[in-house]
Amino acid sequence: MARMKFLCDAERCIECNACVTACKNENEVPWGVNRRRVVTLNDGVPGEKSISVACMHCTDAPCAAVCPVDCFYTTDDGIVLHDKDLCIGCGYCFYACPFGAPQYPQQEAFGVRGKMDKCTFCAGGPDADNSDAEYTKYGANRVAEGKLPACAEMCSTKALLAGDGDMVADIYRERVMRRAGRPQTWGWDKAYGAGV
């Protein structure tokens, strides 16, 4: 059984934001919601690094742990999804998430937020695969079609890797060996626990 993971190779990411655009396009994400974002560290100085970040689909997901209506679930592929029919838009998952993944279509007085939206690893939601209902609520379900997330498939430098954790790790290990650098499995210890 695959265990889906994201890995962003900071040595390769050129901050082109194509992943952000691809995600918005593929999933018809509502205005103001960005399921993925690119953050540049030490911008403009030597040694600057860019990272594309979205929901990391954590092993022991904090969002799921604090959800008052228990609307999160983890698929057999290790993808963390949520049910928008149950979500009440309380914002707790956003407070608990280390990566700032949960997003809300609104952010208004009296805590009006609308239903939470986040990266689905292009795996849709609990509705029937590739149904209209699923597409409207969660966006594309590429995983059901045997494809990988649009962001990673679009990545021009192949910095953003998505797929089975073992395969992603193998590709990355090979790269690190070739370039004689130090591995920077960014966010992995946070998302998937120590020793991965």
């Binding site: 540049t40 560290l41 904090p62 604090v66 700032g100 805590g111 960014w186």
Partner: protein, 359 residues
């Protein structure tokens, strides 16, 4: 001559005092001075820590510590890659807050049950004569019951959001609970600010009744009327009521302030602020609910005749004398017959049911 002697004696005394203090100062200085070495080491150590090890990669350490970068995505804290506070929030909320606080509420209920079954109700010593004194004005009663109603609504909806997942989902199912929780959250969010205003007015309106004084100390020393047969003196508000009032002002105030912070995520609050606000909100609110159980018991079932003041606005003279003797002395000129003002409810009216008891 005498004056001169006096002056001499005084100057001698002053000299001796200066000498004594100088000696003390020198002694103290002699002990402290060598310790400055530690201070030097401390400062030097702190400085060397700030030097960066050229062989270490600091970028990822910065990220891990929650320092941000630059991003094109607009919004609050979008440049932060990892926010660590969330996991503390999760551990504290799902851990101590969710597992210890219900026991606090439970302990309050058990304590009340013990008081009720062992101590028994606090009955009036003398049968009500039908004479009454005014205690709470109409606007005060309206304020009290509005706040009380909103408090109960907020308590039920708030507790549902914290414990509903464990307690109510097994009963209603995920869909049923989500539908209820959605309504509960909206009610909680819209009612909260109005409740906060009510609490604020109450705090301002009643603060002058609740300034602690010596009578309260005596009241507490005498067991606050919980010990049978003893009736410690009290003014308009007794020591217990004052504790409840100031508890609301400070702990309740914390609940209200954090609630407003959480309710309006439009002022650029960081996630850390929200995490901390929510933990304070939950803990303080449950403490408030626990003490509220006591307030509700004493005000209704626990003390015969106590509820009248808040429902009819008048209390029987017998109740006033028994529980607030000092206050009764102040208002006894306003004493009036219950029939005269058309009272139809309360202990003072039901003279037969309020017969004296052995307790």
């Amino acid at each position: 001559m005498k004056d001169q002697d006096h002056a001499k004696a005084r100057s001698r005394r002053i000299h001796r005092r200066i000498m004594l203090w100088s000696l003390l100062l020198i002694g103290l200085g002699a002990m402290v001075a060598p310790l400055t070495g530690y201070l030097f080491v401390e400062i030097a150590g702190a400085q060397s820590f700030e030097e960066v090890n050229p062989r270490s990669e600091t970028t990822w350490r910065d990220v891990r510590e929650g320092n941000g970068g630059v991003t094109t995505i607009q919004g609050n804290e979008t440049g932060v890659l990892i926010q660590n506070g969330g996991e503390n929030y999760r551990q504290l909320r799902n851990g101590p807050v969710a597992s210890i606080m219900p026991w606090v509420m439970g302990a309050a209920l058990v304590a009340i049950a013990l008081v009720f079954f062992i101590g028994g109700r606090h009955k009036l010593d003398h049968a009500p004569s039908g004479r009454v004194v005014p205690r709470w004005k109409l606007w005060e009663r309206v304020l009290h019951w509005t706040t009380a109603t909103l408090f109960i609504v907020l308590s039920i909806t708030g507790l549902s959001l914290l414990f509903g997942r464990a307690v109510m989902i097994p009963v209603f199912g995920p869909e049923g609970f989500a539908a209820y929780a959605s309504g509960a959250m909206m009610t909680h969010n819209y009612v909260g600010p109005f409740f906060t205003i009510c609490v604020g007015i109450m705090a301002l309106a009643w603060a002058w009744h609740n300034i602690p004084n010596k009578t309260d100390l005596e009241w507490f020393k005498a067991g606050g009327g919980f010990i049978k047969g003893k009736h410690p003196s009290a003014g308009r508000m007794n020591g217990g009521e004052k504790v409840w009032f100031w508890f609301i002002v400070f702990v309740g105030g914390a609940v209200c302030v954090t609630g407003v912070v959480l309710d309006f995520p439009i002022w650029g609050q960081t996630r850390e602020t929200m995490q901390q606000a929510q933990l304070v909100h939950a803990v303080a609110a449950i403490l408030w609910i626990s003490l509220f159980f006591g307030h509700a018991y004493i005000g209704t079932l626990g003390t015969e005749g106590a509820i009248d003041g808040m429902t009819t606005g008048y209390t029987s003279v017998e109740w006033a004398k028994q529980h607030h003797d000092l206050w009764y002395e102040e208002v006894k000129d306003q004493e009036i017959d219950a029939d005269e003002i058309g009272l139809t409810k309360g202990v003072a009216v039901n003279r037969d049911s309020g017969a004296p008891t052995s307790g």
